[in-house]
């Protein structure tokens, strides 16, 4: 099972008018079953980094390896959850969850059984036959999470999956995700722009700064698990918040200063 290694990675986007450096000199080693959050201001390249790790975008420079093997395309062992649920409107909840099983050619009977387990685990029981538009935003994102888990991926990539949800739904889903992860450990890389969310979930927080996007600091979060919302009232939590925020703020100030000069 993969240890993911990102080495000297850079990404520039070229359009006719300009080239933009999205990521510069990113080095990151992610251990198996680690819960990593990437946090930073918008434009820091955190989503780009996630997509590169998922093999959806190729880096301009540097390498990405899973267990030492170079990776340049999407892997079967990786599940992805996007910011929007991206549920196919012509499929029921159950059929949406089964989509990866169909495409990857997994056993359908077994997958159906597992899908029903996931539906129960995420509290969607009774909604199997519903169409996506009949569900609330939070429920839709639960379906998307089930869909990402159906292929039993070793790595789960989540690109601001709760960003479009209200604060309470967001906390609920975060804790739910932790519960699922506790039961069935896998490597999770989770992108967010919320500092508390990043700390609440993570083993390690990767704080990024913008323009150009780079890793500013990697902070180990030594808070006890299983975590609940009460964690946010522990002193340690506040210290981590201050730390992460100061790193991000510094990066932003530097970015603004540069922009002002140029």
């Amino acid at each position: 099972m993969p240890t993911i290694e990102v080495k000297d990675l850079s990404k520039t986007f070229r359009s006719r008018e300009r080239t933009t450096a999205a990521l510069i000199d990113v080095n990151l080693v992610i251990e198996q079953n680690e819960f990593i959050t990437l946090v930073g201001p918008s434009g820091c390249g955190k989503s780009t980094l996630l997509k590169i790790i998922g093999g959806l975008i190729r880096p301009t420079q540097g390498s990405l390896t899973y267990d030492g093997h170079a990776v340049d395309r999407p892997q079967r062992s990786v599940g992805i959850v996007f910011q929007e649920p991206a549920l196919l409107p012509w499929r029921s909840v159950l059929d949406n969850i089964l989509l990866p099983a169909e495409i990857l050619g997994l056993g359908m009977d077994e997958s159906r059984k597992y899908a029903l387990e996931l539906i129960e685990l995420t509290g969607l029981t009774g909604f199997e036959a519903h169409d996506p538009h009949e569900l609330s935003g939070g429920m839709q994102q639960r379906v998307a999470i089930c869909r990402s888990l159906i292929s039993k991926p070793a790595v789960l990539l989540m690109d601001e999956p709760f960003a479009a949800l209200d604060a309470m739904t967001r906390e609920d889903l975060g804790l739910e995700l932790l519960r699922i992860w506790d039961q069935d450990k896998k490597t999770v890389i989770f992108v967010t722009h919320s500092v508390p969310e990043a700390i609440l979930l993570a083993d390690r927080v990767v704080a990024m700064s913008a323009r150009p996007g780079r890793i500013a600091k990697i902070i180990d979060i030594n808070l006890p698990r299983p975590r609940t919302l009460d964690v946010e009232f522990v002193d340690g939590f506040r210290d981590y918040s201050v730390q992460v925020r100061s790193v991000i703020d510094q990066g932003q100030k530097r970015g603004t200063a540069k922009a002002a000069v140029s």
């Binding site: 959806l56 395309r73 999407p74 996007f82 991206a86 409107p89 012509w90 989509l99 495409i103 990857l104």
Partner: protein
């Protein structure tokens, strides 16, 4: 509400014709049209069936050819550059001008009418299908791409279902044109069909019969349009929800 408006208009029409004593060959009263329709119901039914047949076959053919062609255009840059200009040229040609040629080449049967119907339906269907296939939400494509889907899987599971609402838009535009296409074909040279009936009865000053045929044509268009809408409701209900 539209029915009430319609009834009012018909009543006004009837009243005006009676009040001013307008000759029936000039403008028949609705009651006269109704009487004529009942008297000629056998002929009207037969001619309607002919026109409906030409319309349905031509429309069906345009789907059968248009949708696969649109798929080919979306997947091939070369086809896109070569076929599209030809399609556009074809669309710009007035079908009224093509119809006599078709009659000259093929004769007076149903086939030239079917071809005219096909020609008028073809373009909206190709354009709508092409745009539907080309404008899939990027996140859907990213999703299946992340699952290492083959191009065939992408087409079957995402691209084509995504395009369905668009295809139905094209079909709705096409079906209203289809009936007109059939009538154009019949005007140019025919022995049956509602278009033929309109032409013959107006030259014979049987204006009421021409009006009856016209009403049937309109009804046919409306019924076909709603038939497609109902079909959409069952086949691709997610389109109407957006």
């Amino acid at each position: 509400m539209p029915i009430v408006t319609l009834l009012c208009l018909i009543a006004i029409w009837e009243a005006l014709v009676r009040w001013f004593g307008i000759q029936s060959w000039l403008l028949p009263a609705p009651s006269e049209i109704g009487r004529m329709a009942i008297e000629w119901r056998r002929e009207l039914a037969w001619h309607s069936a002919v026109t409906l047949y030409e319309t349905a076959v031509g429309f069906g053919l345009s789907l059968l050819v248009g949708i696969p062609l649109a798929v080919a255009v979306v997947y091939s840059r070369i086809l896109q550059n070569t076929i599209y200009p030809i399609l556009l040229a074809l669309q710009s040609m007035p079908k009224v001008a093509i119809a006599p040629l078709l009659t000259l080449w093929i004769g007076f049967g149903a086939l030239p009418k079917i071809i005219v119907v096909f020609l008028v339906c073809f373009f909206p269907i190709v354009v709508a299908t092409t745009s539907g296939l080309a404008t899939v939400r990027p996140v859907f494509l990213e999703l299946v791409q992340s699952l290492c889907a083959t191009s065939l899987q992408v087409f079957i599971k995402v691209r084509f279902p995504s395009a369905m609402p668009s295809i139905f838009v094209g079909m709705k535009i096409a079906i209203t044109l289809a009936v007109i296409g059939a009538v154009i074909g019949e005007f140019v040279g025919a022995q049956d069909g509602l278009g033929y009936l309109i032409l013959i009865s107006s030259t014979q000053s049987r204006t009421a019969l021409a009006f009856a045929a016209l009403v049937l044509l309109t009804l046919m268009s409306i019924v076909l349009y709603y038939a497609i809408e109902i079909l959409e409701h069952f086949v691709a209900p997610w389109g109407a929800r957006r």
